[in-house]
């Protein structure tokens, strides 16, 4: 498959397709449809970067790696949130970078940062372009220009340590590229966010990504043993050991820094042996509460499978309705997916526990169907946008005792904002001993100002998370979209710490300005 996404849709352009007629009928019934094609004729703002800066960039990186043509600039404009897509579909490319630059090494990145400081040019690190929180939309005002720093040339596996089970990866490796190189060594990372096919190692680290197999392999930040961060004040290199007591853990300050403190040029990650067996099983629980309690029981009793996710009643109903080809019936309840990758020795006690807790196995066929389609949902969003249906997701996390209150608050906020006709679906896809994530998918008839329509709904949902004492984001990062609520989540002192670190490392604020730091 290609590694360049469609400029105004998710994913591989070859997979862009209209909504199937049968689905269109269902959507028409539920939400109404109104054909809303994207504007394909678009005009980019002129390149604003001074000629002497472009010339210096070309001397530094070579002509092939300083791209100012419309096509490249368009492909590096914003990320893939629904607002990003709505803007792209309407022909708004105001956030296009002046140029796309492609450093080939840590030293190139260091030189690029030096140049950016001297000419006061904003740098936006670009991995897979899959941000859904406005992480690729730097502030332009006051800068000589904006450069998209495409890390796609930095794709090496720099070190393989099979004794320690760690590897050092360069930031531009996309998920499948990293896994293919590791598989040749009999190794794997096991990090499968929905953006897996396009997102990169650097992006996973910079945004604290979490993948669909987090129950078995952990979040990306938990996999990171060390990293290299190029900053305007020099390079931070941390990671002398799996864990230590040598003061605050600076790895955890670089992880989640979203390009605002520096550009990550290498990551040392923990790896696993390739699993010899994989099995995904579907389970039915009588209710979301019962399923969530079962998940909690597994997590608190050391019975974690590799994949563990649970849809609420609404999401289950919709999934079953759309998966009639895999034998779905509408017997209700909630669908759980339980995946085992080389954790087969835990399958027996996990199965016994799930049965004890009220679950009924639906077998491996539906589990396999989930695994087959696990990266596909974003394509459906584009097809729905084509027919005037607004689709977007928000996600959060909390401790178990607060799960139900948070669920009700966010679902209520979204429904109130988008109207009774909207659909609000939810699933739990990341489970810990002390709590879990909640991931909401929303569909509603788009009105004439869908950007404002969604902004209002997002604001209400986000405030509901804060008011419930939960996090503003479990795995989508802060970007520009969550800044306002990050300030509420970490408080004034937390914001002061972030600003102080930013001011120290990037005193002229050329690194992804406007992103992350409230």
């Amino acid at each position: 498959m290609t590694t360049e996404m469609h400029p105004n849709r998710w994913g591989d352009p070859a997979q862009a397709a209209p909504l199937p007629e049968s689905t269109r009928g269902l959507v028409e019934l539920a939400l109404g449809v109104r054909d809303t094609p994207a504007v394909e004729e678009v005009a980019l703002p002129a390149v604003g970067l001074p000629d002497e800066v472009l010339a210096e960039l070309r001397r530094l990186l070579g002509d092939d790696h300083v791209l100012t043509d419309d096509e490249h600039r368009r492909l590096r404009t914003r990320g893939k949130s629904t607002p990003d897509l709505l803007k792209a579909r309407s022909g708004d490319l105001a956030d296009a970078p002046d140029a796309v630059v492609r450093p080939g090494s840590h030293d190139d990145v260091v030189a690029l940062i030096d140049l950016a400081v001297r000419h006061h040019v904003a740098l936006v690190p670009f991995g897979g372009g899959t941000s859904v929180t406005g992480g690729l939309v730097a502030r332009r005002e006051g800068y000589a220009g904006v450069l998209s720093v495409d890390l796609g040339r930095m794709k090496a596996v720099r070190e393989v340590d099979k004794v320690s089970m760690t590897v050092v990866l360069e930031p531009g490796l996309r998920g499948p590229e990293a896994e293919a190189l590791l598989a040749a060594e009999g190794l794997m990372l096991g990090h499968y966010p929905q953006s897996f096919e396009f997102a990169t190692i650097g992006g996973f680290a910079a945004t604290r990504s979490s993948g669909q197999s987090s129950a078995g392999y952990g979040r990306f930040d938990a996999m990171v043993m060390g990293l290299t961060l190029a900053t305007p004040q020099g390079t931070l290199e941390v990671g002398t050991s799996p864990a230590n007591a040598a003061g605050p853990d600076l790895r955890q300050l670089a992880l989640g820094s979203e390009g605002a403190f520096g550009i990550i040029t290498a990551v040392r990650v923990r790896v696993k042996k390739l699993p010899e067996t994989k099995a995904y099983e579907a389970w039915q629980f009588p209710s979301f509460d019962a399923g969530a309690d079962a998940m909690r029981h597994l997590a608190q009793n050391g019975l974690m499978p590799t994949v563990l996710r649970l849809s609420d009643e609404a999401e289950t109903m919709l999934n079953l309705a759309s998966q009639s080809d895999v034998g779905g019936d509408s017997s209700g309840g909630c669908l759980m997916i339980v995946g085992f990758e080389d954790s087969i020795n835990r399958r027996e006690p996990i199965t016994a526990a799930l049965e004890e807790l009220g679950g009924t196995s639906l077998g491996e066929e539906r589990g396999a169907a989930w695994a087959e389609g696990r990266f596909h949902a974003p394509y459906l969003r584009d097809s729905l946008l084509d027919v005037g249906v607004l689709v977007e997701t928000v996600e959060t996390a909390t401790f178990w005792s607060n799960r139900d209150a948070l669920y009700a608050a966010v679902k209520g906020a979204l429904t109130e904002a988008l109207g009774e006709k909207s659909l609000v679906l939810c699933h739990i896809s990341h489970v810990y001993e002390t709590g879990c994530s909640l991931y909401f998918t929303v569909a509603a008839p788009a009105d004439d100002a869908p950007l404002e329509q969604w902004a209002a709904a997002k604001a209400r949902a986000s405030q509901a998370m804060i008011d419930a004492g939960a996090t503003i984001t479990h795995h989508h990062a802060v970007g520009t979209d969550h800044k306002q609520w990050l300030a509420q989540e970490v408080g004034e002192v937390g914001v002061r710490i972030l600003r102080a670190v930013k001011a120290e490392l990037d005193p002229t604020s050329i690194l992804n300005p406007g992103v992350l730091i409230p």
Copy 2:
């Protein structure tokens, strides 16, 4: 037992005892003995704090909680490293605080910080007083005085959430106090550093402590879900969820901050159900390498017991020699302790793996003997200091592939510095998928300037750790003793980050000045 330690020895004063005659004979043979009693008549420096500050402190906290008598000041002078003990034994109390103050609440701590800023008084948070890295030795120069902030009145369990399996603990709870309060709820923390009997929750968090059951229950920093940090710029409260992507993890910046960024006034920790069964088994491996490889195999294959530790050949020989009462023979090899607390279902596969990897079970009797004496080693140090034998520990961690090189480098450095007559023992007590800790115990005949003698040895060992690419400390923290090497470990950029955060949160540097930040 008492919770106040002897002023110039480890632990409960009632347990202070001369070296048993049999051991003294052995030590005389190996190292030579020279009776070196502690000076018991000591003089404290005069209280330097202005009267108006003392008066304000008394108005704030009450007369009972502002203590300037010799006894209290002596008990709050420094920690329990061998250099700390040597100074105390020689009558040097130059680092005594001017007063010991005992805040009873978060608000008291906030008010105390405010007072300290206004009068430029240095604050040294005091939990159990067990620091072995000079963490309780604040810089005095330029300050109106130094206050020991004894958190021993803050001992509440503030919240018990049995659904989420978290509790909120106040910082002054000592290990056994916290466990007793939790046990009444059927819960446990499972954090047993060697300092367990005296050290506190706040200290565990501030120093990134790791306990003897870290294989099963994790390091203390991994248990922390949230915390409250009182700083001169306001209070940081973090921990909305088990994990999130809301920017850098500020919990991990407060953990390990050693009182230099703020005073921790509450910690939300993950808890476990009390185990119904406990068993500790001793195993013998033919060599340190073979035992370490077996540990690595367990960690990399999801077969972790609750306790997992391995002594090298020298430590094994010494342990067996001193444990003749539990049936020790000198058949050589290396002793491993494998503990199971409610992890009995993993005992069978772990046993099979250990046998496959060359281990021989020595049964539960010796395992029980280890568990019985697990907090006792520091008492022996005092008895050895009494007879002129210098005893101290250093510890580090690295990735598995670097273990042997690090072991050789540190052991070589210590032996070269302390002479061929010195004993250098080592064990691995903390095991991860990607690496492990190394904990060295050293015994050598003290010369006439034992402080300088040890400082030289410590410097060589520390530089060997840095040169080997390992950490300067796996679980003893930075204090004042490791600052120089911390700068080498995290580099110039890392130091700048720490200084920037310090300057932001504590601009007049009244919080544990001189500690942590290079």
